[in-house]
Amino acid sequence: MESALERLWRTLIWAFVVFFVVNVIAMISTVVVNSFGTRWLNSWLPAAFTFRWYAAAWKEFQLGDVLLVTFQIAGAVVLISALIGVPAAYALARRNFPGKPLVMLLFLLPLLVPPITFGVPLATVLYKVGLAGTMWGVIIANLVPTVPFTVILMIPFIEQIDPRVEAAARVFGAGTRRLFIHVLVPLLVPGILAATLLAMVRTVSMFELTFLTAGPTSQTLVVSLYYSVFAAGVRAGQSIDAMAVIYMLSTLIWLIVALRFVNPTQIVARVKKAPA
């Protein structure tokens, strides 16, 4: 009786997953197909296929350089925010100290307050110290929301780790640094994976702060993309789609690479798979 209900439930879930995946793939496909289409009106498929939108976009936005810059910036942001965010999250998860709510608020604010308010003064500060206009300026500006993001996100993951395992590492001579390297980070891999992936996606898509602090040679892909979508003037949908596809690929690569090498499920679950 109830197991029939359970089966129904499971079927429903899988049905939804299939529904979701099919529609998302179809949606992506329309964009991909369109980006290769010459002209697509009122029919199942475009009239003919071409590469010209890619070629044009590539040339117009000097995408080679832009992609390289984007990767560098995203890489640096992700790395730095993990490096300083995870330890901070660790402290917040493990210790109760006076003023902790205030610190939490400090980390929440950059996520809550839209960049409109602080983007310009932040850029001013960065221009004053001579960082804006360079790649580092963009990296630092992007760190302002990603560091707190990483901190907040990592807290529950750290709480899940058994402090006794940490205790063991300390007893056997691991100081905080090596505790992180040898024990915490490997155990936190799923959380760090999620945090870095999401931080990367956010950096790549952070238009406002990037634009405000980027110089002519430190613009990232999203600036070009937004330009092609929102700037005045006529632009073929196919060309926008081509840009969007390039944008997607630029993050998709990392997602696939990351999930290829890192398992999003934690070690406990992997070792002790529940009953078949």
Binding site: I13, A91, R95, I116, F118, A194
Partner: protein, 293 residues
């Protein structure tokens, strides 16, 4: 033998030790680079083009077209966030046992890479009157005329689900897999069925994680902007608050008013996030293992 010195409460007793100091780099970074610009924006919001200190705020709250955006935004952000979490949890519960888990995970997480533009373009095409979806439905005779799924509330809603679901799913999956399977096994031997195991074991243990997930996802959804413009009706039912702020800043070039709106936005979000994080404090937070090993 010398008498040991009397013990005074040390910093460590109050929770301040080397580990606590790890919070410093991040905190310093935020203080240095965020606090000043933020205060600047905050002060700016109290220096309206016209009116007294609170001019911008009274202006906002005396104009239903403006304060209505809060409701319009909440109407999008809350259901979407809750739906995404509600979908993520059962799916993650299923996926974690799977053999080809990585492949499926990759596919499910994939939409976070799409970017708002691709999603908007894709939905406009796919769900549009001549899109594949409507065509298919018409082909099979399920509908007669194309149904309208974009340029309204649902267009934005769908896009938020597509970009938001992978986010919550990835977090939920990683969090659920942190629970020692032995706990569920123990519950099973005590007669708990799958639903009860979920309700009594898994759910309470991931609530703290879900709370954080909710906060981050909610904040994301609440500040929805490009897709509200591209897929919604930005003058109408998807006139979200960040759109109002952007209008003030970029159309009316009233940065002071824009700052004020953004501050209001932050306060509203904080209302929810603060509440959720406070509630989170009431739950068990700690290792999700059951004893030895």
């Amino acid at each position: 033998m010398t008498a040991p010195p009397a013990r005074r409460p040390t910093l460590a007793d109050r929770g301040i030790d080397g580990v606590t100091l790890l919070v410093l780099p991040a905190a310093l970074f935020v203080v240095l680079l965020f606090v000043y610009p933020f205060l600047y924006g905050l002060l700016l919001s109290f220096a309206p083009k016209e009116g007294g200190l609170l001019g911008n705020y009274t202006r906002f709250f005396s104009d239903p077209y403006m304060y209505g955006t809060i409701w319009l935004t909440l109407r999008l952000a809350l259901p979407v966030t809750l739906l995404n979490i509600a979908l993520s949890v059962p799916i993650a519960m299923q996926v974690r046992h799977m053999k080809h888990q990585r492949l499926l995970t990759t596919i499910l997480v994939l939409p976070i890479t799409l970017g708002t533009v691709l999603v908007a373009e894709g939905l406009l095409n796919y769900l549009g009157p001549q899109g594949w979806l409507n065509r298919t439905l018409i082909l099979f005779g399920l509908i007669e005329r194309p149904i309208r799924l974009v340029h309204n509330y649902w267009g934005v809603f769908i896009s938020l689900v597509i970009t938001g679901f992978p986010f919550t799913f990835l977090l939920t999956l990683s969090m659920i897999s942190g629970i020692d399977p032995a706990l569920e096994q123990a519950a099973a031997t005590l007669g708990a069925r799958a639903r009860q195991r979920f309700r009594h074991i898994v759910l309470p243990l991931i609530v703290p994680g879900l709370a954080v997930t909710f906060c981050l996802a909610f904040v994301d959804a609440f500040s929805v902007f490009p897709s509200a413009v591209m897929l919604g009706a930005p003058a109408g039912e998807t006139r979200v608050i960040s759109f109002a702020a952007a209008q003030a800043a970029f159309e009316q070039y009233d940065y002071s008013y824009a700052s004020a709106i953004a501050m209001i936005m932050a306060v509203v979000q904080f209302g929810f996030v603060g509440l959720v994080l406070t509630l989170r404090g009431l739950f068990y937070k700690g290792p999700a293992g059951g004893g030895k090993g």
